[in-house]
Each structure stands twice: as structure tokens, then as C-alpha cells.
């Protein structure tokens, strides 16, 4: 007599049903993932806004409190920095004319150049360098739209669009690579192109700069519009440590990104711009 027929295993069907329910659950979540995520973001948005501001204020307060013990040292540092800045002012006056191009970039009226949609960050994922903004497909947002602040500093581009929210991939994301132009102090130098590659943890490096070109500290990086995603002239960062190695085919450099997550309460999505 077959004992398996008389005493059927009761656990196996339960496990199979459990797996089926689980797969069905995951499948349903993925099928309606935009709606689910939009729903959760909608529910948590008011709290996220409050906590984001509270975190900003708390970190500022804590930062100031921690610095009290270091005031004397900081004073010396400021004095030294002041002298450096005085020297820098003199240098800047000398190259004022040459910097005209950069000035135009910075001082140009945003609204005249781009069609903008005002937004604000309500959540930050600094593990993967994404921010969540409170504008979505209902507001006409599309993937790949650039996100900047009022000083034309590039934050990143829209990565994923939900009904009322969007995820923005910061330029520091490991998945982010963008073509840049290196803004030199003088206008007679040949144009230098490179690529800014995200390194994660809110940092990025400059790469793919020809070995024949000279780059130095404080050179400004702006978008070149070669790839067609970003309009040209958006500020990205400045070079802090050039690294020229003749064994490598290209120059690289450490850079300091201009975007500041503490100033992410007023951002703009560029919904349209003139392609030159």
C-alpha cells in the first residue's frame, strides 16, 4: 500500500499556496508600482517636509554648537583666508574682462532662457544620490529634464516620474555621467571638454580630459550640451585637485560640486530650452 496516497503531505500545498500568494503580491505591487509609490509619497510628504526642515535646522544648530570650542583656531583660519581672498580680489580684477563669459552664464535671467517649473525636494536618498521632488507627470514633468537652482547650479536630471512626484538623479550618482566644458579664466585658451562622473556619496570626479590640455585648481565646470540632455552653461562645480598621469590616456581631477542639498527647498525643473 502506498502510504503517500493515504497520508498526503499537507505542508507542501500550503507552501505552494504561500509562494503563489507571495508572487502574486509582488507582481501586483510591480504592476501598480507607480500608483503605490505615489500614494505613499503623498501620505508621507507633509511629514517629510517638516522633518527635512527640522533636520536642516538641527544640523545647523549642532554644527554651530560644536564649533564653539574651536573659535580661536577658526579666527586664525579666517584671518588667513581673508588675506588669501584679498589676493584673489586683485587677481580677479585683472581678469575681469576675460571672465565676462562666465558672468553672463551666472547672471543671465533664468526665465528668459528656459521654461521652468518650480519645485522642492521632499526626500533625499544620499545612499544612491537621488532626491524626491514634489512635481510629477500631472505637472508636465518628463524623464531626463534637468533640475537646477536659482543660481543655475545643476542638481541632476529627472530619473523617474510618478503622478505627483519625481525622482531626480543627482550628478553625484554613480550612474550619472555628463559632458562638461571647462571654463578658463582667459578667452583665448582652446575649449576643454571632459566628463563629470558621479562617485556616489555626493561626490564626483572629472574625467576624459585630454592630456594636451592644461587644467588647474578652481577651473569652473559647466555643461557643454554635447549629449543633448542639458542646456549649455549650467554650473556644475570646480576643480580642486587635478591629476595628470602620463600613463593614463586622459587627465582626471577631483572636483567640488556646487549643488548643496541644504538649498534644495527651491529648485527648478527645466521643461524646455533653446537648443543652440
Amino acid at each position: 500500500m502506498n502510504v503517500f496516497l493515504e497520508k498526503p503531505n499537507k505542508i507542501l500545498p500550503k507552501i505552494l499556496i504561500g509562494i503563489f500568494v507571495f508572487v502574486f503580491f509582488i507582481g501586483t505591487l510591480n504592476l501598480f508600482q507607480n500608483q503605490f509609490k505615489n500614494f505613499f509619497y503623498s501620505i508621507t510628504q507633509p511629514f517629510q517636509k517638516i522633518l527635512l526642515r527640522a533636520g536642516d535646522n538641527s544640523s545647523n544648530f549642532l554644527g554651530a554648537f560644536l564649533k564653539i570650542n574651536n573659535l580661536a583656531g577658526e579666527n586664525e583660519e579666517i584671518k588667513k583666508r581673508n588675506q588669501e581672498l584679498l589676493e584673489e580680489i586683485i587677481t580677479l580684477q585683472q581678469v575681469k574682462v576675460e571672465n565676462q563669459a562666465l558672468k553672463e552664464v551666472v547672471s543671465g535671467g533664468l526665465e528668459k532662457e528656459f521654461k521652468l517649473i518650480l519645485t522642492e525636494a521632499i526626500g533625499i536618498d544620499n545612499k544612491q544620490d537621488f532626491i524626491l521632488i514634489n512635481r510629477g507627470s500631472d505637472d508636465g514633468i518628463l524623464e531626463d529634464m534637468p533640475v537646477i537652482n536659482s543660481q543655475k547650479v545643476l542638481f541632476g536630471k529627472v530619473f523617474k516620474v510618478y503622478k505627483n512626484f519625481s525622482k531626480v538623479m543627482l550628478v553625484s550618482s554613480k550612474n550619472s555621467v555628463l559632458d562638461v566644458k571647462i571654463q578658463k579664466d582667459d578667452t583665448i585658451s582652446p575649449i576643454i571638454y571632459g566628463a563629470v562622473r558621479g562617485e556616489g556619496n555626493l561626490s564626483a570626479i572629472l574625467d576624459l580630459v585630454s592630456l594636451e590640455r592644461e587644467i588647474k585648481n578652481n577651473d569652473i565646470l559647466i555643461t557643454s550640451s554635447l549629449e543633448g540632455t542639458f542646456p549649455k552653461g549650467l554650473l556644475i562645480g570646480k576643480i580642486t585637485e587635478p591629476n595628470q598621469n602620463d600613463l593614463k590616456p586622459f587627465q582626471t581631477a577631483k572636483i567640488e560640486l556646487f549643488f548643496n542639498l541644504k538649498q534644495s527647498d527651491k529648485l527648478f525643473i527645466i521643461s524646455d530650452y533653446k537648443i543652440e
Partner: protein
């Protein structure tokens, strides 16, 4: 039981919100504590020696909740974090079973290495880019471990063994 699970669900909602809004301003070298993962680990760790094999309310549902919120706030698709946390939960349960502690003792010497190991495991599988084993990742581990230890002593002090 169900009331506790609702509370746990809401706790995950709060921690997820807190993590992506408040804590980002306290990042060290761009890293912040992953409170969702820490709570998940604490729950599984402290329920790791119960006899039930499936342990639906102590392991399965907390893992699904934690994975769900990680998927909502961090990942493009649902399922990846849920499945990974479920696998990790049952591996952790098995590891604790192998340690053969019969009494309700939860020594910190087990907790620290297991947390670090599972945190690395979690990051290897769930980050879109492979984590670099550099000093930033080391800082991230230490930063998370501090919060995890804080949670560990809260769990021990208030005897939150069986959720």
C-alpha cells in the same frame, strides 16, 4: 498580535520618512544610518531562537514590511528588497539556532559581528552599484553599528524579544 503589527508597520513608515528627510542632514562622508534595516535586524535577531520554523509574525511580516519600504523609497521595482530580507532573516535565524543558545540570552558579541556581516551582505546585493570597500563604506558600517547598538540595548532593556 495584529495591533502590534500595525504599530510595527507605522514604525517602519516613520523610520523610512525620518531616514530620507531628517537624517540626511547628519550624514558623515555622505552616509546615513539605515534605520529600516537596523529595525529589521533587531527584530529578527531577538526572535531568532523561537522554535517555530516559519515564525510568521516575528520574522516573515517584519521582513516584508522592511523590504516594502526599502523598495518604495530606494529601489525602482518591488520585490528585490523583500526577497533579500526574507532570505537574510531565515539565514540569521538558522545561524542563531546553530549557536545553540537555549536561554533567552542575546549577547552583544553575537550581535556585532552578525550585524556587520549581514549589513555588508545587504549592501552587496541591494545597492545599484557595487559598494566599494573603502573608508567611506567603513564609516557607513560604523555609523550604522552605533545606531544598531543603541537599538540593541533598547530591545534588551525593555525586553522587546517577541514582537
Amino acid at each position: 498580535m495584529w495591533l502590534k503589527l500595525v504599530v510595527l508597520f507605522l514604525l517602519f513608515v516613520f523610520l523610512a520618512t525620518f531616514q530620507i528627510s531628517f537624517l540626511v542632514h547628519f550624514n558623515i562622508a555622505g552616509t546615513t544610518p539605515n534605520l529600516i534595516f537596523i529595525l529589521f535586524f533587531l527584530i529578527v535577531f531577538f526572535s531568532g531562537r523561537s522554535k517555530s520554523t516559519m515564525n510568521f509574525k516575528n520574522i516573515f511580516l517584519p521582513s516584508v514590511f522592511a523590504g516594502l519600504f526599502l523598495d518604495i523609497f530606494y529601489f525602482p521595482y518591488f520585490g528585490l528588497a523583500i526577497v533579500l530580507l526574507l532570505v537574510m532573516a531565515y539565514i540569521l535565524k538558522y545561524v542563531l539556532f546553530l549557536l545553540k543558545k537555549t536561554r533567552n540570552e542575546y549577547p552583544v558579541v553575537y550581535f556585532i559581528p552578525l550585524f556587520v556581516l549581514f549589513f555588508i551582505f545587504f549592501n552587496i546585493f541591494l545597492t545599484t552599484a557595487m559598494p566599494c570597500f573603502n573608508w567611506v563604506f567603513l564609516i557607513e558600517i560604523m555609523y550604522n553599528l552605533i545606531f544598531a547598538l543603541l537599538g540593541f540595548y533598547i530591545f534588551k532593556t525593555f525586553k522587546l524579544y517577541e514582537f
